[in-house]
């Protein structure tokens, strides 16, 4: 018992774990924000330009769709390494949590965009027709009908994206991004420090559970169907 207490009061646990948790939250938060800000319009574009959409643009739809699919088909660890020059260009460095947010965001934008597209596709086409009949512009159809009606789906998409980002951020940690992934690898894996390993897992599980619970709660509250 004493041994466990001792190992729990080591600086790597008391300070290291807190710092790593904050780094992970920073990576996920920053890349999540960027993903939503850029992925949302991209998702709207994918939906609107599709055949039978608000403004069908077959060529644009195919090109954007292809880019999205290519990005999504790359394993994140490869995408991250491949994007190092871009990361340097944006943040001036390729190590650290802020730098890691760049490939995280680029990986998550197409992911989120596809989820947005699916959420918009679930909006009753009858409501879009009702909006068109009263003389709405396309922009009004998007802002007054599509997005508000898809809100619960968009919240769920954001939750899923953030949770995926938590997973990706652990991988980013392995190659210089810091955070819980780095802690787990350098202590839990390389030094056989089971206590740190277990604690890291617990923090990650709690983080994901909280995100999911919060997302579900919000989605339910916003859903009046």
């Amino acid at each position: 018992m004493n041994e466990l207490l001792e190992s729990l009061t080591r600086p790597v646990v008391t300070e290291g774990l807190t710092e790593a948790t904050l780094q992970t939250l920073w990576m996920v938060g920053l890349s999540g924000l960027v993903s939503v800000l850029l992925g949302l319009p991209l998702g709207v574009l994918l939906h609107a330009s599709s055949p039978g959409g608000l403004r069908p643009m077959p060529r644009t739809n195919r090109v954007v769709g292809a880019v999205v699919n290519v990005t999504r088909s790359l394993p994140f660890i490869i995408l991250m390494v491949a994007l190092i020059p871009v990361t340097r260009l944006v943040t001036g460095t390729s190590v650290g949590s802020t730098a890691a947010a760049v490939p995280l965001a680029i990986g998550a934008i197409p992911f989120f965009a596809r989820l947005v597209e699916a959420a918009l596709r679930n909006v009753d086409p009858g409501t879009v027709e009702a909006a068109e009949v009263i003389g709405s512009t396309r922009r009004q159809v998007v802002t007054k009908v599509l997005l508000p009606e898809a809100t619960p789906g968009l919240v769920a998409a954001t939750t899923t994206t953030l949770i995926t980002l938590v997973a990706y951020s652990a991988m980013a940690g392995a190659v210089g991004g810091g955070g819980l992934g780095f802690l787990a690898i350098s202590y839990g894996y390389r030094r056989f420090d089971t206590v740190v390993m277990v604690l890291t897992v617990i923090v990650l599980v709690v983080m994901v559970q909280l995100l999911q619970a919060l997302g579900d709660h919000l989605a339910r509250r916003l859903d009046h169907r």
């Binding site: 009263i134 003389g135 709405s136 007054k144 508000p148 009606e149 859903d223 009046h224």
Partner: protein, 324 residues
Amino acid sequence: MIVCRALRKEFQTRRGTVVALDDVDITFARGSVTGVVGPSGSGKSTLVRCLTALERPTSGSVVVDGEDLAALDDTRLREARRRVGMVFQHANLLANRTAADNVALPLEVAGVPRARRRARSRELLGLVGLAGREDAYPAQLSGGQKQRVGIARALANDPSVLLCDEPTSALDPTTTREVLGVITDVGQRLGLTVVVVTPEMSVLREVCDSVVVLADGRVVEQGRLDELVRHEGSTLAAELVPLPTPGTGRGPWVDVVTVGEEAAATVVSRLSRRLEADLALVAGGAQTIGGTHLSRVRLAPGDLDAHDVVTAARELGSRAEVVA
């Protein structure tokens, strides 16, 4: 008022050109309630989409209050659409907006200030009998109430035309009557041109004073309901008084359609007297349509020749034919 002239709409499909509307001429008069009937695939939906300018005609014109929709650019078209209020089969309300905010949507789109929107949506919900339910979400409303909200929304921009696309097809009979009541009521109060597209003859019977019958993209009959049912050669009369499913037994039978209050009620006994024989009633019904009384009976001729019964019925001023 809406006038369709030589309206034609083609669709290109993989199997070639499909003509959905073919040389359609219709006038929907101001203040009238016109039913548009026809089997599915007859062009009803395409006609609706042309009347709301969601679909551009291949040729011909749709003139609403003197303005040809086909000739307008996108911006003016959006404004013109506001003159046609549309009621949908499934209400098509926004689930994440309250009843009041749903009614206010057309006003929001048109750029009406918030205070006026609130007042107007309250007033409209009152008009359709939903005062006090302003803050209810569609999921908290019954099917009939949702459709009332849909009607209120259609009226928000002060349209001159109320276009109802199968407004009661998703409702039970009691709710159907309730919703049809609201439509005719607001139509009369606001002096609207009401168009009701429906596959149900009962809807036609209950609310319409005029009718357009479509088949294969063409207008096969149109006019005032009370005149059409009297008109020889109109197939509408028979359809408006559908025969209940007859019991056992085999034909030939004679179908007799009679118009006029006295005549419709007494046709079987008069026919029986004239033929000096008892005629067996197989099935029959009587209706009042647009103020005109109408009966339709199916008779078994018994020992008589079916054609003699037909001749006698025609001499009595009824329409008659032999059915196998």
